[in-house]
Symmetry: C2
Subunit: 355 residues, 2 copies
């Protein structure tokens, strides 16, 4: 049975997020950045990174754990690189600042490589990589995050699910958009199985002793996620290595919190001090015709005969494109009714007009 | 039972490879580059990418499918980027040329991003990333390769096992060294299970119809490898996305062969025209103390209590370090006796002194 949903037009959803963040204590332009990122996540079908996290960001601002009215600062700069202190502003404020800088540098000298410390959760990584694509560039974005990933061969959860996003323009408005955690599955998916009372597939999670499990409650109560690849014999050491590569690009290069030192999810007792990395690359610096070749590669994959008739062969970014199309047809984003109700409850507390 | 092995000192092994490649028709300095790469692979324990591929490279040179005496050419250049035509020289000749250029650029302006077309198989990707580490830089290296990876949801094998290597210096000579195919497992590992008559784990391979299988012969006879993550529900679409990201960085950016158009493994009827990507990054452009933080992160992982007493927690690069140490203790690289015999047979054909 489909859950009851309520369709919210995108401008309404953005207005709502913006007003809630402003009510929490942030200035308008910062609240707008937060709204754009969160609603982009929902619009793309990544509901785990959208409206359902709004309350956490409001709390971060209300408690002063995140700054609502500062500005990021560039600490060190060369033609192709910059080191930025996010000054503990909202993640999207820091992310937009850094990606804009990376794009400017890529246009000037082919590559822009910007690393921030002092940032906060920035929503979906793809939001920033896509800003490069809007300018005809290849974009990358990475962030570290709260430890939840089992270190290979141990029972300790010492790295975040550290996502990798890479986006590349094809022809017209088509693009390759990879936006993936380096864990096999997101926490949200484990929670869904838990609510439904069904086991999780192999390779998703481990119990508090680090042992792979199919029981969602063991993952959620002291256990954690397995890296992409799952067990060692099925390549889990590769996902673990990728998560550590992302940590190197973020916390280690930037000098923010890293690895097991990143603060616990949802806590506000100290600054998050996340590290994030943003890269823009101008494909025109290499072989002419990049977009056409990218399009050809993507289309050659999409045109393969699917193994199962109702499951077309996709490339990274296609599931999101399908969700965006669905939103267009519906005239807005389909939120579960209970999520809308919960958000309107939050609005009431904050004195904001409901959705 | 351990297979019978014969220990070959590293200088002997390199001399042997060099002489075989020269006998095939390449000039000395190119043969030396090939020898350095192949023996580095064996030394690091990646026997699938070492001496056992020598015959293929000799054949490439003998047939003129690869050029033995040319030089790569830089086609386009900016302070931070270069587009190189490998001119169909041996992969390590092209790789060394590009990585050297990337390192020079990284020292001058923080980043060097070099993409080649017209290259050939270049051995282990890590060989090039490690050249950056030798200079105190972070290094990346990527290559496309013969289609062998199942496109998500299809029965077609349209992408290579497209490796990612990322290496970062820590303190003294310690380093993080990720060097991984974007498939779950290498072909070589499937072959080993086949020879031993034991099934392969879930997530390794698929049959000619694209269906996941535990039967090695089905993978080897018309089937192929699964991307890291294996089946879709266990994250295989992420490994598939990473393989495509590597293809974007290599064949698509460089304008060489890409995706399903890359020539079949071991064939010589046309040029390989592989695409490869090399990046060097100067960590000093960001937050001071990179090496110390990298070391701290690596050591914090290594010092975790292992789940199983005899399996210490490792970071990327540790298995290779352990193999290098083993070689030191043995006074050389332990090759299976039948491999040494086979190589000496090749040497006889080429008129080269046996090992």
């Amino acid at each position: 049975m489909e859950r009851a949903t309520k369709c919210i037009p995108i401008p309404t959803a953005k207005r709502f997020v913006k007003q809630c963040i402003v009510a929490g204590g942030a200035k308008e332009v910062h609240a707008q950045a937060m709204a754009d990122t969160l609603i982009a996540a929902d619009h793309r079908g990544h509901f785990s990174h959208g409206l359902n996290r709004l309350e956490m960001y409001v709390k971060d601002i209300q408690t002063g754990s995140t700054v609502g009215d500062g500005e990021p600062v560039t600490l060190k700069e060369s033609a192709a690189t910059a080191h930025v202190d996010g000054k503990n502003n909202l993640g999207p404020v820091v992310g937009n600042y850094c990606m804009k800088l990376a794009i400017k540098k890529a246009k000037e000298c082919g590559v822009g490589w910007v690393v921030a410390k002092g940032s906060n959760h920035y929503g979906i990584a793809g939001f920033y990589a896509l800003q490069a694509v809007e300018e005809g560039l290849v974009g990358f974005s990475f962030t570290n995050s709260t430890p939840c990933l089992r270190a290979n061969r141990s029972s300790s959860y010492t790295l975040g699910s550290n996502p990798i996003s890479c986006a590349a323009p094809a022809v017209a408005d088509d693009a390759f958009v990879l936006d993936m955690a380096t864990s096999t599955a997101a926490y949200g998916r484990v929670e869904i199985n838990h609510r439904k009372g069904i086991p999780i597939p192999n390779g998703w999670g481990a119990d508090p002793n680090g042992r792979e499990t199919n029981e969602p409650s063991e993952v959620l109560n002291g256990g954690g996620l397995l890296p992409l690849g799952g067990a060692e014999e099925s390549g889990g050491y590769k996902g673990y290595g990728l998560a550590m590569m992302v940590e190197m690009l973020c916390g280690i290069l930037g000098g923010g919190a890293y690895g097991p030192n990143v603060r616990k999810w949802g806590t506000t007792s100290r600054e998050a001090n996340l590290g994030q990395c943003f890269i823009a690359l101008n494909p025109d610096m290499f072989c002419d015709g990049f977009g056409e070749r990218m399009q050809d590669l993507m289309d050659s994959q999409r045109n393969l005969t699917p193994s199962e008739k109702d499951k077309p062969v996709l490339v990274a970014g296609d599931p999101e494109r399908m969700h965006i199309k669905k939103c267009e047809e519906l005239g807005g984003i389909p939120y579960p009714t209970n999520v809308v109700d919960h958000m309107n409850g939050l609005a009431k507390e904050l004195g904001v007009k409901p959705m």
